[in-house]
Subunit: 224 residues, 2 copies
């Protein structure tokens, strides 16, 4: 995740829309609201929502103001309503069909990852180049050759690919993904990809999680 | 990752040490400094470092002030020196031996993940309960039964475990991890674990990455 205050551009060359940091905070608000909703809390004020996450009430209101007016005077936000609004803003209120590129260990692990479906990502096709997996069925999906990607993308109107190939194969696989018309890549390959400006790229990097864990364990050991 | 302004406690009951948000930002500074160092930039000012990440110069200086005085008047920070200092603060300047709990698809994918070694995490043992993998060798490591965990933890002086078992097995595996004396868990199982306060827990959750990707692709499609 990036906390940069850089801007998400829409590739149209028009005025940029929303700072990345705001979109990151939307994810955090959503997580907190879902937590509140599970605890059967119906409403929350901007100051309490902010306090739970370390932001000011003004920051919370400013963030939501990019997208509309969601609070009620004297009530605050209605949790379930705001959850739906944020999902609508993020685009996770609908299902995104996606193709998984790479069906090795990481790919197979991701096929079993329930979080994709929970966030509205539905893996509808799997491609690879390895004869060891081509034609085999994983989680109900037959592995096709990556050369079929353009057809698959067209048939399912795909926008998004999950890239889970070894580092050495990543650049070639990314080329084929981009040629097929895909405009969003979630990259699990441990390499940095260069993609055109109109393509969205999210690199999954565990470095930060590992550093936070190291720091936390380190601190606790010093306390002993 | 959490951007909460909550505090990382050291479990000793003493005054808490450093806000989590500061530790998160240390990871971002480190990433940017490593990028600069690869571009052979020798020094950087707090304002330029902040600007690259969307923070003010004051924020940058305040964050580092928790840990000491790292800048030079009229020069700024020396990139390579600050990289080493941050690694030392985070505890990633040394090698952490870790045990991988779970050697299914996710576990095997993680065994092949080079990022762990890069951050100083060295997987020295693998445990599971599945007869299909017990006794087999993956990346040079023989899979032991999870019941051997206390011995393994003692033999290697382990502090950290990576949990990569299916959701249904996560609670039991976490129990065995905690009983073995481990004090830090990196959890890839898609469940929320409850751990004692003296245990560090980092939950790897792809939800945020998926939401950021959805939003970005969504915006670009609207621009068409």
């Amino acid at each position: 995740m990036s906390i940069e205050d850089s801007i998400i551009e829409d590739g149209s060359g028009r005025e940029p829309l929303v700072p990345k940091a705001v979109v990151s905070r939307l994810s955090l608000y959503l997580r907190e609201l879902q937590h509140l909703s599970r605890s059967e809390q119906k409403t929350i004020s901007s100051s309490k929502l902010g306090r739970a996450l370390g932001f000011t009430a003004a920051q919370v209101r400013k963030d939501f103001a990019y997208f509309g007016q969601f609070g009620y005077p004297g009530i605050g936000y209605r949790c379930d309503e705001l959850i739906e609004q944020i999902k609508k803003i993020l685009g996770t209120n609908k299902t995104w069909p996606v193709v998984l590129v790479g069906c090795g260990n990481m790919g197979q692990a991701l096929l079993g990852y329930r979080g994709f479906a929970k966030q509205g990502f539905d893996v509808v096709a799997v491609v690879d180049v390895d004869k060891g997996v081509l034609g085999k069925t994983y989680q109900g999906l037959v592995v096709d050759h990556i050369d079929l990607l353009p057809e698959i993308v067209k048939r399912h109107s795909l926008r998004v690919a999950i890239l889970a190939v070894p580092a050495t194969a990543a650049a070639d696989a990314a080329d084929q993904i981009l040629k097929s018309g895909i405009t969003g890549i979630l990259n699990f390959a441990p390499v940095t990809l260069n993609v055109p400006k109109n393509v969205s790229l999210i690199e999954v990097d565990l470095a930060m999680e590992l550093e936070q864990l190291a720091f936390s364990v380190f601190q606790k050991n010093q306390g002993q």
